[in-house]
């Protein structure tokens, strides 16, 4: 037996369960979010399901969440995961259930378990947020869930409002029209809609990505109550990761994240942004000097929901970002991480 085996449960950072047991949730935690003008505690449970339907035919280029999934997770497994993870979060007025897939996909989340979660929240008068791919949003499904619990928020990944980006950069297997239809269905059922906007899919330059995210945010605002700006982070086993390893992909600069958020000041929608892995090599980052300050500003911006522009700190790396914004489009083939290729090795 190795010296490190001290009998502790196999939990990684943030209490992530790495054992991949079908009877334990991936993780659960509390976070703060602004709900109706006030910052409150929100419970989050990531369930280990059988996985996203789309991951079986290739999946999205940036998504590595399928590593959390396991074949053959049944309804009773999910129930056990949920009943273990939920009690510590019981007092929250808002619960988010993530499955790394689609809550409305009955092959992934059996309807008997779905109903139990909905009832659990209804009994406690807690708002419930669930995620789903657009193709599982039907009037039938929406009527079924809204009939059990009336305080619902459905989150759908729009990612980009450009069909070419969806198809050739993300491999989303969804069109903007598909999203619009699903969004309308969610709204019609009386649920709130949260849309995910992706910042910097692979194969786009920083400038294209920024332009695309701003346009996508505008499109999402047409029907959404909340828009979540998601800067890409480099997840394991993804197309993005292999590009990143070849220095052919760089997660977005925090300057770009700020630009997107500042473009939303006139939108009367809730805008949230929590860059996963922010400030690290695999997440949205700048030079390493200014990252902490900017991330703090972004966090405050999300919590306060103030519609003022995020103040831009002074840092020399903004010049580099500006040059990258200009130059990447003139690269004759493919994408490259220009900063990684040319920075001083001493940095």
């Amino acid at each position: 037996m190795g010296g490190r085996d001290s009998g502790e449960p196999a939990l990684g950072r943030r209490g992530r369960d790495k054992s991949k047991s079908t009877r334990t949730a991936v993780s659960a935690w509390r976070e703060r979010e602004n709900v109706d003008g006030a910052a409150i505690d929100v419970g989050v449970i990531v369930l280990r399901s059988s996985g996203c339907a789309h991951s079986r035919d290739g999946g999205c280029s940036m998504c590595g969440y399928n590593v959390e999934s396991r074949e053959g997770v049944a309804g009773h497994d999910l129930e056990e995961q949920f009943l273990k993870a939920a009690p510590p979060l019981e007092d929250v007025r808002f619960l988010k259930i993530y499955t790394s897939g689609s809550f409305l996909d009955e092959r992934e989340i059996p309807s008997c378990f779905r109903e139990k979660v909905l009832k659990w929240c209804a009994e406690r008068h807690a708002r419930l947020l669930v995620e789903t791919r657009a193709e599982f949003v039907s009037e039938e499904a929406m009527t079924a869930i809204a009939g059990i619990h009336d305080d619902l928020e459905v989150a759908i990944g729009l990612e980009s409002a450009n069909d070419k980006v969806l198809k050739y950069a993300i491999n989303k297997n969804m069109t903007v029209k598909d999203f619009d239809r699903a969004a309308a269905t969610v709204k019609k059922a009386g649920a709130a809609l949260r849309s995910y906007v992706l910042l910097k899919p692979p194969f786009l330059t920083e400038a294209e990505a920024l332009e695309d995210a701003i346009a996508t945010t505008k499109h999402a605002a047409l029907q959404s109550d909340t828009i979540s700006i998601n800067p890409v982070n480099v997840q394991r086993g993804t197309t993005v990761e292999s590009l990143w390893r070849n220095w052919a992909y760089r997660p977005p600069w925090l300057w770009s994240v700020v630009e997107v958020l500042n473009s939303c000041t006139s939108l009367e929608r809730k805008i949230v942004c929590e860059p996963t892995g922010g400030g690290k090599a695999r997440g949205a980052h700048n030079c390493g000097q200014c990252d902490g300050d900017i991330l703090q500003s972004i966090r405050e911006h999300t919590i306060s929901q103030n519609r003022t522009s995020i103040k831009i700190p002074e840092c020399g790396c903004r010049e580099i970002w500006e040059s990258v914004m200009e130059l990447e489009g003139l690269v004759a083939d493919g994408t490259v991480d220009l900063q990684r290729m040319f920075r001083n090795r001493g940095d």
């Binding site: 050739y168 950069a169 294209e208 332009e211 130059l327 489009g329 003139l330 690269v331 004759a332 040319f342």
Partner: protein, 571 residues
């Protein structure tokens, strides 16, 4: 857009890229022109197609761009290699793609070069992003024609003062090692640094273009690659794993060179020499007493004082006609005396210390072993210096005459005596004549392979060394050109080589008036190298003979450029 190659040095080429009537000498840099960083006034520019002016290289917006697609771009970006999209049509350039990954992995880089050259040899080769000044020589050596200025700008933005041998962080520079306009003023900001970086890169490319014209780029490359391991690795992998690609582009007669690095041992012309010995070489028929000799700094060896002494000793033995002198040397391994004019036997220089490194030792031993096993000598005499032990070690029953000092009086008389004892008797002018014919056969075989045998079969030698002529039935078939060190064919000689379908360029039914241009070539045999004597014929009828100016692949595919420089024409 027009691209014409004017001079070749291996895969490297010096050419002209013409866009809208504006001509740029290649290899060259296409300067990106942006709001922050304006391009230098003169010189090729790379702009978004919607902003491109006449004479620029226009680059299309990608398929993901929200701005409309305007203008007719020279470079089509498409979906940037997304695996979810079909490939876009290839434009006017051969573009090296995935350069960031290639700059991390030498083997993949070299594979990409091979793929590019096999598929799109005639297109101007464009290498985005990675063309730092210290890499321009090596990348040009790999056959890149156009670079962009992105590395110069990004290096400046990151405070890197670039040089032809690497980079120095600008804030740690003690004194500016340059007198460009920007350095003369003292570099004040990123703009000033960029100006210096551009100046260094353009100067380096001037140097590269000169070396290509002189045929000496390889030496510059062997020195420049020291800047980073990636370059050293890439050249080594290119030499060891892609020797064929390089060999088919290496001229048969190149410029003088100094073989002063570990990589020199694997130069394509040097590697070809060793390969050809094994593949084609056969010793002169009667010369069955082998004398192994050390090389000399002076070339051809036979004019050096030491070799004069060796030859005197051998001559005085009275058995010179039966002796096969073979010089042991690095990096060529072995040079049979009769091939000493053949490139690169008299065109290399190597630092001599008397210490042989293990790679050299192994290479020489392998070839000596091959020589004695394949050429079947009656006696083997070793008259060597510092290489004596490593050679004697692999030859079973050799007679050592040098005692480690081949120039000593005692050693020389021992050589003379030993030859007299070992070599078969006989003498006189007839034998010397036959021996000269045998030597010519050996050269012909080395140069033309089996067809060389046909060229010299039944022929005799006329004239004095080195201007020896091949004569049969009173007709001259060819002669050794002192300048080229190889055989130049006459039309009758060409007919013989042509009859073996070797070194042939097939043309349509016409008589070439001037030189033969690629547009007139129907086919060409794969054995032809640049600088080789080639037979020009139509349906078996020899029309001319001359010197190849491009590779057979280019002859077949190209529409422009001189394919064969003609020496004799049929009338």
């Amino acid at each position: 857009m027009r691209f014409e190659i004017n001079a070749r040095d291996g895969l490297a080429r010096r050419g002209e890229l013409e866009l809208d009537g504006v001509v740029h000498g290649t290899p060259t840099i296409a300067f990106v022109d942006t709001w922050k960083h304006t391009a230098p006034k003169d010189g090729l520019k790379l702009r978004q197609s919607s902003l491109a002016k006449e004479g620029d290289i226009g680059i299309s917006p990608s398929g993901f761009s929200l701005s409309p697609h305007e203008g007719e771009p020279e470079i089509e970006v498409g979906y940037r290699g997304s695996p979810f999209a079909a490939d876009v049509s290839e434009g006017g350039f051969a573009i090296l793609d995935g350069v960031s990954g290639l700059s991390l992995d030498s083997r993949r880089f070299v594979d990409a070069i091979e793929a590019m050259k096999n598929r799109r040899l005639l297109k101007p080769a464009f290498c985005p992003v990675i063309g730092l000044p210290s890499r321009l020589a090596f990348l040009s050596y790999c056959g890149i024609d156009v670079f962009d200025s992105i590395p110069l700008i990004m290096a400046a933005e990151n405070g890197q003062y670039l040089n032809s041998d690497g980079a120095i962080p600008v804030d740690r520079i003690k004194e500016l090692p340059c007198e460009c306009a920007s350095c003369a003023e003292g570099i004040a900001d990123v703009k000033g640094l960029l100006k210096h970086n551009i100046s260094v890169a353009t100067n380096e490319l001037r140097l590269v273009r000169n070396h290509i014209a002189l045929g000496t780029l390889r030496e510059l490359v062997e020195s420049r690659i020291r800047a980073e391991t990636w370059q050293v690795q890439s050249l080594r992998v290119l030499d060891l794993e892609h020797s064929h690609l390089q060999e088919v582009h290496a001229p048969i007669k190149g410029a003088r060179f100094t073989a002063s690095s570990k990589e020199s041992l694997h130069r394509p012309d040097v590697a070809r020499w060793r390969r050809r010995l094994v593949d084609r070489y056969r010793r002169p028929d009667k010369a069955d007493t082998l004398v192994l000799l050390p090389c000399s700094a002076r070339k051809p060896y036979s004019i050096s004082p030491s070799h004069r002494r060796f030859r005197d000793a051998i001559f005085n033995s009275g058995r010179a006609h039966a002796v096969h002198e073979v010089i042991v040397t690095s990096p060529l391994g072995l040079v049979p005396r009769e091939l000493e004019l053949f490139y690169p036997a008299r065109d290399y220089d190597i630092p001599v210390t008397g210490h042989w490194d293990r790679d050299e030792q192994a290479m020489v031993q392998e070839l000596v072993r091959w020589l004695v096993e394949s050429q079947r000598y009656k006696a083997i005499i070793s008259h060597l210096g510092s290489e004596r032990d490593l050679v004697n070690e692999v030859v079973d029953d050799c007679i050592d005459t040098s005692d480690g000092d081949p120039n000593a009086r005692g050693s020389l008389s021992k050589l003379e005596d030993t030859v007299r004892e070992q070599a078969p008797n006989g003498g006189g002018g007839t034998r010397r004549r036959t021996r000269a014919a045998d030597d010519l056969s050996s050269i012909a075989r080395f140069q033309f392979g089996d067809a060389g045998d046909a060229l010299t079969a039944g022929a005799s030698a006329a004239g004095r060394w080195p201007a020896m002529k091949i004569v049969r039935d009173g007709i001259q078939l060819g002669a050794v050109s002192h300048q080229r060190g190889m055989i130049s064919m006459t039309l009758p000689g060409a007919a013989i080589v042509g009859s073996k379908d070797a070194y042939c360029v097939e043309i349509d039914d016409f008589l070439p008036k001037g030189n033969l241009f690629a547009i007139g070539v129907e086919d060409a045999t794969d054995d032809i190298r640049i600088g080789d004597d080639a037979v020009i014929r139509h349906a078996g009828d020899v029309r001319a003979v001359g010197v190849a100016r491009m590779t057979p692949v280019e002859m077949r595919a190209a529409d422009r450029g001189e394919a064969v420089h003609i020496r004799h024409r049929a009338r």
